[in-house]
Symmetry: C2
Amino acid sequence: MALDHAILVSLLEKPGSGYELARRFERSFGYFWTATHQQIYRVLRRMESEGWIDVREVPQQGRPDKKEYSVAAPGRAALSEWLHEPIAPESVRHDLAVKIRGAAFDDPAALIREVERYRQVHSERLAHYLAGEARDFPDPGAPGPLDARPLDAGRELQHVVLRGGIAYERMTLAWLDDVLATLRRLTPER
Amino acid sequence: MALDHAILVSLLEKPGSGYELARRFERSFGYFWTATHQQIYRVLRRMESEGWIDVREVPQQGRPDKKEYSVAAPGRAALSEWLHEPIAPESVRHDLAVKIRGAAFDDPAALIREVERYRQVHSERLAHYLAGEARDFPDPGAPGPLDARPLDAGRELQHVVLRGGIAYERMTLAWLDDVLATLRRLTPER
DNA sequence: ATTCGCATGTAAAAAGTTACATGATTTC
DNA sequence: GAAATCATGTAACTTTTTACATGCGAAT
């Protein structure tokens, strides 16, 4: 289980409330880990009771108070331990692939419109990532004195993860074009 | 939930026992859907009780008898209904991405060896897919009369799904090289 | 007036994982 | 003699999803 660890990393990057975490898991964190607020609140409570994270009640004006969580020493230790464990092979689940193979027993033509819609979603996601990259990671090539720019490990690592998301979306779009061409070849009528 | 539907598709492609299904989910089906035999047996029992699939006891010599399942009309109808539903956006879960961002608060150098091992796993998976493609889908280019080859929809669709798996592995390998380069840049010592 | 965003939760159901269990045959 | 393959399952546990619930302030 790694939701714990995903939350710990996010809190190390910036302390925040359960609500804020849920938003991060919708946005930037969301392209490699998703979680709903219900899951997050449950895990936060458990981690707090185990002493992995500290809470601080933050009164706000005009808004409900929030509990700001930050990582405590035992939480850091637990994360470190997990980081040194071997990476478990991810288990894949692609509804679309099931549907494509299922289409052989149904109507391949009916899938075309749905794949086109799906392609649109990924196209928008790619645009969103690229916009985020342009915003958060400018510095194309190397303008400016090389040794004057400090290597910020955190930013570099965030960037390489984002590049992974971008590569995934590009690959997916190319594959969806392949899927569409294949489906169209199978239904040349109209 | 789509394990039901994945099983239905697999049974439509070829009827078989729970054990056989579990093996398929380890092999070809496994690159877009995983399931353990426990899950499969549970779902088979439920689908049988709902009349979605038929069972046939097949006595075997030298081996335990098996129950061969095949899709019944209501199962086909249920699958068809599901096929016409919009595709839900997949929720991603990449331990490696969490670890990469977590490495900023730990030891980036320690991740290098683990990423190398992980890269090896994907490299082998790609080789396995390519071997499967060469075995099951020969016919490179177009040798032979074009209109003499019948378009087998099922095979075409299986092939395009496999091409998706291949594209995914290639993209992953390229990204892992990017990750390794980034990690090495951050730890130039030794 | 109603909807949207902030903020936190409970409860129940569905799905997935892990461990245990059995028993025959075939292969090393 | 041990290990691997075939074949099917139970039980307990963990995780995830879905639905419901509340309440305030700000914007339309």
